[in-house]
Symmetry: C2
Subunit: 353 residues, 2 copies
């Protein structure tokens, strides 16, 4: 069934033979290790060129018995959102595929609602040897700081979920958040009247807000750039159910022109619950993420649109990007944008995260 591979005539052995040195010396040159005279080095390098030598990564990993330690740093699953658990499934999927190549993935978690938890988790992460990091940089300052440390150690890092373009990441895997918000606005504009107003809800306990959520809001506002007055904002800083209810109720009462609500995160189900309880069926509701709870409200018709960004695939591709770079040594895409998927009651049963 399986044909034998033609003999590999261009391995270290052949190089050593041609250069009249031992394979140990060839190995030193290949890996740029010291202890080789300039002359020998040049000679060997030339032969490597000629032969177009491609190292056998399989053999290399077997012989070295090295483990490649990757780490992920993301928010922990919480009662507030299980989004991050879905993302973890993608990590697992990638791990299965590359474990045999000696890759291990270590998991570190921080608290979505507590920015001080980020550096703590990061510190833990840095205590151990790590060859590459996949992280969701929800807090700009803290993430910038951490990535600086990684860079000093020459450890490549990949962003998922949201990007920090200023930092020199190996890659970004995730949605274009600004565009995502813009599209949400565009979609919404189809569905409401010209005089209707929109309530934007940005839910977090974090006073300064959370980078990706704000980015979506920016995109959303951009669409209504000429008529910003159509947008009403409530700062639902607290995330407990009754705070949310109170704030939304107050906003709706204050301005009866509000005919739609845009929630910048997966917590749209909270609003859905409130709208149902309050018997407000005429309001268009749009939010993020294909979570069971959100889908349930989609089915009931309380949520009209969910925008989704394939968290599982993000994590899978993020890990594979590190693998390609660190193990295979092949070039990786600097940016891998996820589609901005629009999910409705009609198509949700066919959607995969």
């Amino acid at each position: 069934m399986k044909a034998k591979q033609p003999e590999q005539p261009n391995g270290v052995k052949e190089i050593a033979r041609r250069a009249k040195v031992s394979i140990a010396t060839v190995d030193r040159v290949i890996h740029n290790r010291p202890g080789v005279s300039a002359k020998t080095r040049t000679k060997i390098e030339k032969i490597i060129q000629e032969l177009n030598y491609q190292p056998n990564i399989i053999a290399s990993r077997l012989a070295s018995r090295k483990v490649l330690n990757l780490a992920i740093l993301i928010p922990a699953k919480s009662i507030e959102t299980e989004y991050w658990e879905i993302l973890l499934a993608g990590v697992l999927q990638a791990e299965e595929e590359i474990r045999q190549m000696g890759v291990r993935i270590h998991r570190y978690f921080y608290d979505f609602n507590d920015r001080s938890s980020f550096p703590k988790a990061a510190k833990q992460l840095l205590k151990n040897e790590v060859d590459g990091v996949l992280l969701a940089p929800l807090f700009i300052e803290e993430a910038t700081d951490f990535c600086g440390q990684l860079q000093e150690k020459n450890v490549p890092f990949v962003f998922i979920n949201s990007d920090l373009p200023g930092l020199d990441s190996l890659s970004y895997v995730g949605p274009e958040l600004f565009r995502s918000g813009y599209l949400a606005a565009h979609l919404m504009s189809y569905c409401i009247g010209l005089k209707d107003k929109i309530l934007v809800v940005n839910m977090t306990k974090q006073k300064e807000g959370i980078h990706p959520l704000l980015r979506k809001e920016e995109g959303f506002r951009e669409y209504f750039g000429e008529k910003p007055s159509r947008i009403v904002k409530t700062d639902a800083l607290e995330t407990s159910d009754d705070t949310v209810e109170r704030k939304v109720a107050a906003a709706l009462a204050a301005d009866p022109a509000i005919k739609a609500i845009f929630v910048t995160s997966s917590r749209v189900h909270n609003i859905a619950r409130y709208l149902e309880t309050a018997g407000k069926n005429g309001i268009l509701l749009m939010g993020y993420d294909f979570l069971p709870e959100n889908v349930a409200w989609l089915q009931k018709g309380m949520i009209d649109f969910l925008i989704c960004q394939k968290p599982q695939e993000q994590a899978y591709r993020g890990i594979m990007t590190l693998y390609q770079h660190l193990v295979l040594g092949i070039a990786v895409e600097k940016e891998h944008f996820m589609p901005i998927d629009i999910i409705t009651r009609e198509n949700h049963m066919y959607y995969k995260n």
Copy 2:
């Protein structure tokens, strides 16, 4: 930077030691090869269980120096559609990632417009040793026949682009075509009046039609199930520009209520060109695939919606599915549905195939 792997104490050596046999015998048991007494076999199997032995695939592939031969069987890129070239990019992407594991991918092509070319290419394919096949089964009969032959040889196959659920494929990677057509209809129904009619165009030289295109049409018709009279069909069997033009022109002339056109394939750009030439701007046009030519018409506003199915990713995942099954021996998803992406003038610049 990289930690040494803890020694592998549970390899064939350890099994051999415990069973008081040679590793050759252990190897025979592991691979179910003959030439081992029932007694020894049982003893070794028991130890394998106890140790929860996981073979080191890296070492295995290095030692055996076996090549895994995969083959793809898809339509050739043609003047009519470069869809298949994009798909090939996904094959390349997967190949890069797994070439080191000794996987080779052989490419076979048939003619989209000539069903007799399918068995010819299939025959070529079968002339060589093959361990797994990725194919787009556009012609039901011919593909069924071919897959039967593969099954006899115990060669697993994965479908992309369109599914043939009856056959025992290892997996299907692609869109749910029926659903795709249904959604197209749904989308269209938002955009046209209740009395407006729709022209469905199914383009191919193939008299019997092409399976995936027909499947999309079925889904489309399903949506309008209660009002089938709203759908007008033209059989644009020929694919040369002026035949298409003539047929569409005739259909539009015959029924002025036609306000929208649904093209079941990527050849929607042909219709766009005709509509522009004929100066018919009021007609909603929807078709398939994110090809440069289609995108150009999207930008010009002649095409209103494109439905896309990520051909590159289909091919990538299809190949990786075979790899996971044949090399890693891990379970694979029986169906991997691609999202049904809706592309408009507003979001096309952010789309990736």
